[in-house]
Symmetry: C4
C-alpha cells in the first residue's frame, strides 16, 4: 500500500494507541445499553433474571474485547513507530472489533430462546472473531515486514506466539455451537 | 495467572490508564441518555420535575464513578508499570464499573415509585459496588505482590488505606435500604 | 476538602486531562444521536428540514462544549499538577458539562414548536451554563490557592480573565429568552 | 481570530490530539448502534441480510472516518504546537466529522429502498464531506500562516498534497449519485 515510505515517515505510535483505546473503550461498554431497566412496580428480580442472556452477553463481550485489547497492547510494546499505511491496517483491524458487541448480542438472544437459530448466530460471531484474528496477523506481518517492529520481536518465536490467543477462541466458539445443536 | 513474568515484561502503564479513562468517561456520562426530552407543547417544568429520579441517578452515578476514578488515578500514581496479567486484572475491575450506571438507574426508578421493589434494586446496586471494592483490592494485591508498585507504597499503611473509600460506600447503601423499608 | 495535602502528593495532571477529554468528546457528539434517520420512501429533504431544531441543537451544543473544552485546555496550560482533592473539583465541573446536551435539546425543541414553554427551557439551559461558569471559577480558585498553578498565572490579570468567556454566554442566553417572549 | 498571539502562547498539541481522537473514536463506532438485533425466533440469516444497507453504512462510515483520522494524524506530525484560536478551528473541523455517520446512514437507507430519494441523500452526504474537506484546508492554512507548522512542511508540496485524499472522495460520491439515477 505504501511501499515508498522512507525512514523519516515513521512517526510515534502514541496517537494510534490513543485512538484504538477510544474505540476499544466504546466497544467494551456498548452492551450495557442493551439491558432494559425494569419499569416502576415491575418485579425487579424477575425482570433481571429474565434478561440473563443480556447480562451474559455483556460479560462475554467485556472479556473478549478486553482480551483483544490486552493483545493489542502487548503487540504495541514491540512496535517502534507507525507509517501512514500502518494507520489504515489498524483501522481495518478496529472495524470488526467495534462490531463485536453485535454478534455477541445476537448469539446471547438466540442461545436460550431461539434454539434453531443458534447456528447462523454462531457463524456470524465466529466469522467476526476469525476476521479479527486474521487482521491481527495482518497488522503483525505489516509491522514486521516494514521495519516497524523491534528486531528482537521480529525474530523471537515467543513474541510471535503472543498474538495468537484470540485465534484459539474462534474454533472454540464453533465447537460450542456444534455441541449446542 | 502469569507467574513466569520476567522483569523485562514490565511495560509502561500509560496505555492502561488511557483505556481505563475511556471506559470511565463513557460510564460516567451514560445516564444522561436516560433523561427524556419533553415533547413540544408538553409542560417543560412538570416533565423535568416528574423525572427527578433520573436526574438523581445521573448525579449519583457521576459522583460515584468520579470517586472510583479518582481512587484508580491515585492508585496508579504508585504503580511503576504493567504486565500482561495485570492488564486482565484491570479489565475485570472495569467490568462492574462500566455496569454501575445500570443498578443506579434501577434503584432510582424503584426508590420513589416501586416501593416494595426497592430491596432487590438495592441488592443489585450494593452487590455491584461490593464487587468493585473487592476487585479494587485484587488489583492492589496483584500489583504489590508482583513488584509493580513502588516499595514505599507497598509498605505504607497510609497508601494502603487510600483505596478504601469505596469500601465504605457499599455498607452505607445497605443501611439506607434498611431505613427505607 | 484536602487541607493536609503535602507537596509530594502533587501528581501530573496528564491523566485528569485525558479523562476530561473523554467526557468532553462524548458530550460534544451526543446530540447527533437525536437526529432521526428518514424512513425509506419518506421525503428526505422534508424530513431533514422538519428536524432543523435538532440540527441547530447539535451545532449549538458542539460550539458551546467546544468553547468550554478550549477554556479547560487553556486553564490546564498553567496548572502544574493535581492533588486528590483537585480531581474531585474537576469531576464536579464535568458533571454539568456532560449534562449540557440535554438542556440544549430541550431549548431547541421548545423554541420553534412549544412557544409558551421556551422560558422554563431557557432557565434550565441558562442555569446549567451558570453552574458550569461557577464551577470553572471554583476549579480556578482551588488551583491557585493550593499552589497548583504557576506563580505567574496566579498573579496575572490576563490569565485570570481567560476563563471568563463562558460567563458571558449565560446572560446572553437569558437576554435572548426575554426577546423571544 | 487570534492575531495578537505571542510565541509563548503556543502550547503542546497533545491534548488537542487526545480530544480529537475521542471524537473520532465515537463517530467511527456510532453506526453499529443502528443495526437491529433479531428477536428470538426470528430468522437470523434473513434479518441480517435484510439489514445489509446498515452493515454497508457501518463499513463505509468506518473507512471514511478512519481515512480522515489518518489524514488528521498525518497533519499533526508536522504541527509544532497549538494556540487558543487553533483549538477553535479544530473544533469546527470536528463538527462535520462527528456528524458524518448521519448522512452515511441516510444514503444507505435510501440507496436500496427509497430510489427517488437518493439524490437529496447524496447531496447531504457529499455536502458534509465537502465541508470536512474545506475545514481541513482551513486548519492547514491556519497552522501554516500562524507558524504552528514546521518550516519544512510549510514549504513542501509533498506535505501539502497529503491532506487532499478526502477532497477527491466528495466528487466521487456525486459521480456515483449521477450514475445511480
Amino acid at each position: 500500500m505504501e511501499p515508498r515510505e522512507q525512514p523519516e515517515d515513521i512517526a510515534s505510535s502514541a496517537r494510534l494507541e490513543t485512538f484504538a483505546d477510544g474505540v476499544f473503550a466504546i466497544a467494551i461498554t456498548l452492551l450495557v445499553l442493551e439491558i432494559r431497566i425494569p419499569e416502576p412496580g415491575e418485579n425487579v428480580a424477575r425482570a433481571i433474571l429474565n434478561q440473563w442472556p443480556s447480562f451474559l452477553a455483556y460479560i462475554t463481550s467485556f472479556l473478549t474485547i478486553g482480551t483483544i485489547w490486552a493483545d493489542h497492547h502487548r503487540l504495541f510494546t514491540v512496535i517502534r513507530g507507525t507509517t501512514y499505511g500502518f494507520l489504515f491496517v489498524n483501522v481495518l483491524l478496529l472495524m470488526p472489533i467495534a462490531f463485536l458487541p453485535y454478534p455477541t448480542a445476537v448469539v446471547a438472544r438466540q442461545w436460550f430462546e431461539g434454539k434453531d437459530q443458534v447456528v447462523p448466530a454462531m457463524l456470524l460471531y465466529g466469522g467476526t472473531m476469525a476476521l479479527v484474528a486474521v487482521l491481527f496477523r495482518v497488522v503483525w506481518r505489516y509491522a514486521s515486514s516494514r521495519g516497524l517492529m523491534s528486531a528482537e520481536a521480529t525474530r523471537s518465536r515467543a513474541y510471535r506466539r503472543r498474538g495468537e490467543l484470540i485465534y484459539r477462541l474462534a474454533p472454540l466458539i464453533y465447537g460450542l455451537a456444534l455441541l449446542r445443536r
